[in-house]
Symmetry: C2
Subunit: 468 residues, 2 copies
């Protein structure tokens, strides 16, 4: 009997899917944002999808996978676009979609199962006590909270709260190990970093405790500018207004807003750059006063005064921002791709100017203003009009040479997409929690190849990633 | 019949106090924090106190004062310590204590009458929907919201929201003019600056609309350090932690904490400096993890783990901070006074070091970390072991020479305590709203003496301030 057959026998009674077409479809995430990853990962599939209904069932799966040496790739909604959830060695796709209950809500705190959809959590916390999560990705209505913590970094709300990595933005994680007898660990404080943004390579998050903040009926606002840099300066200034409560602040260069935001197109000229904002309703007077001080700014759209019929057809502006900007671009022009850049404070505005001058319409700018180590600065998710992988690498090198670090979204490993160095804490925890190396194989280079040279431009080639 | 007798006749039926002892007592604010102001203002008194019960009654008072040319000094609880509410020309003390209703609460917003006590507003907004005001002074339990807006600048909560002057921290003010027929104005956006922090010199605020934020059972924490500068660096670092929700962050140099905080004294050694914090309860794990990273920091006191009996005897830590630090000092040593300093970002920590090295125990440091124009920096409210006015002026000059602007709390005028220049917007509005110059006379130099030289060290001598 094969390992998989033994596993299936062990897991009888659990919800298992092994139809190869369905398994392949359920193995995929949004890796295809990247033409590089698309080529590398398009054939990847797991062998079966297991959908446990309780933590006890998750433990059964992990115990059996350990016994039979079957790889396990945990998955939320598969909305990541670094290939985080792609099962490079096949095996079990551990689908946590049915671990989706909100278990407790109190002032400032929600406890939820890892598979809960982020917007569903907010629906419950809003109804309960006018609270909502601090941070969410643009895939708010599809992504799971566990997937966000394991594979995301920040998003809407980061203009106030920084990133997930910041102390205090996750309170507690409940984590299972992949051992003969899986342990249940409760992690808080310094321990959280062991498993956060580790792509599920060193533990399975089953429950999260997250801080909440006050929920509002955020007003979607699009502010227009003739010159992109005026929009950037506006965003930097408004982000530094301490009394103006925003949840989102993203300058996007012409012609992207007109070309990609099809349902908002009627509000935006082709040569117009925009700053996309979410503003607290009671801050709109102050926001409008601030816009009034900027002769080059004009409000093109605000959801609190637009007529209800017009509004119905429009997506919320958080679905114009972060990775949704790229997603909308890909729908219009499948040839584009994108980058992720940090423009470090205090020279972020000047660095944006240098890079946009240098690269022009080959790399139209999309910025996301955030709090980063206490300062207002910006990340970039510029669109790249893709030609070759060589040119893409050159564009990245130009950013790095100008002091703008790249978080490479064309790599599926933790290290290459992040800090380009071994994370000793996460590696040490993997040794404890996944001694056989079965959790999401191939994503942590430090585990696979401790001597790997991160300075290489080449993609790390996971030996287990065998072509079918 | 004298003007005052005519006024009294006009106001028959209103609550009026004219017993000179009671009027003098009700004329006073906390000007005696300053030995300079104490000497200047100790004899000042109004002629009668009028306590209207409605806005209609306020209008009656204003109309009659205009008709009979009687000065009007509006007063909340008289907790200001710049002499803001001292009636330099006598006349009517307009006591708004009975205009104290909370009129409306909705998500993010409270509407209250100007005389409402700040902590009472929070009691109602907390009970209604778990919300509270963003900012309050250390005189939370006695000060009125209108007095805070007319005479204050920030306080507890400024670490998150900046100051009252920042767009968005006040939504709307309802203001009466002092004319033959007083007008009722609703001010929002850019107009707010006309009357905010104008000491009631150009209008009478009767109603305020303020933003709310989420209310929590804040944990009082005192963190101890052997060296004051280690406390300053800790505060600067923790203030820049975007995910750690604090409401107050104040380093105070030894020996002040031990000597002045008598009921907390058992927790603090005489040679120990402290950082006083208010931390969201759900952030305590993260806060403790952050303290754990600093080998020189130790938590001396936290209100969430101390035994209930011990806690009962202790004031909340916001009553150790801002102007309450000085107040507690004055109770122990009436010879001290204080200053108000800005240490500008990004050199604030270094500037604090320079000034504390320079002035030693003559000027023990007390800092308040705040958001200021989007950055975390600190104000100082250092204690001054007072000798002479000349030395006090020299200490202020030393600050200015080292690039640390002083907001002089030993001056009763708007200009001398603030930016040392005419505020054209407030002056223009006074021309409209108080054509006879009857509102809080002597506080706006630009009105009294348009050619005044602000570079002088000397106190502006209001001609109307006649010695009894």
């Amino acid at each position: 009997m094969s390992a998989l057959d033994s596993l299936k026998a062990d897991l009888s009674g659990l919800q298992i899917e092994d139809n190869p077409q369905i398994v392949k479809q359920k193995s995929r995430d949004f890796f295809w944002y990247s033409p590089v990853l698309k080529q590398q990962l398009d054939h990847v599939t797991g062998d079966l999808v297991v959908t446990p209904k309780s933590e006890a069932e998750v433990i059964r799966v992990l115990k059996s996978c350990y016994a039979h040496d079957v790889p396990v790739t945990v998955r939320g909604a598969g909305t990541g676009n670094y290939g985080q959830a792609m099962p490079l060695s096949g095996g079990v796709i551990l689908n946590l979609a049915e671990l989706n209950k909100v278990k407790e809500i109190r002032p400032g705190v929600v406890v939820a199962e890892a598979g809960a959809i982020i917007s569903k959590i907010d629906e419950e916390t809003r109804a309960h006590s006018g609270q909502e999560l601090r941070l969410h990705p643009s895939t708010y209505r599809t992504a799971t909270i566990g997937g966000f913590i394991a594979g995301g970094s920040g998003g809407i709300g980061s203009i106030n709260w920084g990133g997930l990595r910041d102390l205090g933005n996750v309170i507690r994680l409940r984590v299972l190990t992949l051992e003969a007898e899986p342990r249940v660990l409760e992690m808080t404080g310094e321990d959280l970093h062991k498993v956060m943004h580790a792509y599920g390579t060193n533990g399975v998050i089953t429950e999260v405790e997250m801080p909440l903040t006050a929920a509002y009926d955020w007003v979607d606002v699009v502010v227009g500018f003739d010159a992109f840099m005026d929009g950037v300066r506006f965003a930097d200034a408004v982000g530094n207004q301490d009394g103006l409560l925003l949840k989102e602040l993203a300058p996007i260069s012409a012609p992207l807003p007109h070309d990609y935001f099809l349902r908002h197109q009627k509000y935006i000229r082709k040569d117009q750059s925009v700053v996309v904002c979410m503003v607290a309703p009671f801050a709109m007077d102050a926001f409008a006063a601030f816009v009034g001080r900027q002769p080059k700014a004009s409000i093109l759209y605000r959801s609190d005064t637009v007529d209800e019929d017009a509004k119905k057809g429009l997506p919320p502006v958080y679905e114009l921002a972060w990775n949704h900007t790229t997603l909308r671009g890909l729908r219009v022009d499948p040839a584009i791709t994108y980058l992720q850049v940090l423009y470090p404070f205090p020279n972020h505005v000047e660095k944006v100017r240098i890079m946009t001058d240098l690269l022009g319409d080959e790399v139209p700018a999309h910025l996301e203003f955030v709090r980063f180590d206490g300062k207002i600065t910006c990340f970039g998710l510029p669109v790249v009009r893709y030609t070759t992988e060589e040119r893409l690498n050159e564009i990245m090198r130009l950013h790095e040479e100008n002091g703008c670090p790249i978080f490479n979204p064309h790599r599926y490993t933790l290290e290459e997409g992040g800090m380009k160095q071994t994370d000793d804490v996460q590696l040490a925890f993997k040794r404890e929690a996944d001694p056989k190396g079965l959790l999401n194989p191939g994503k942590m280079i430090a585990w696979e190849d401790p001597n790997y040279d991160y300075s290489s431009d080449k993609l790390f080639l996971f030996p287990g990633l065998k072509r079918a």
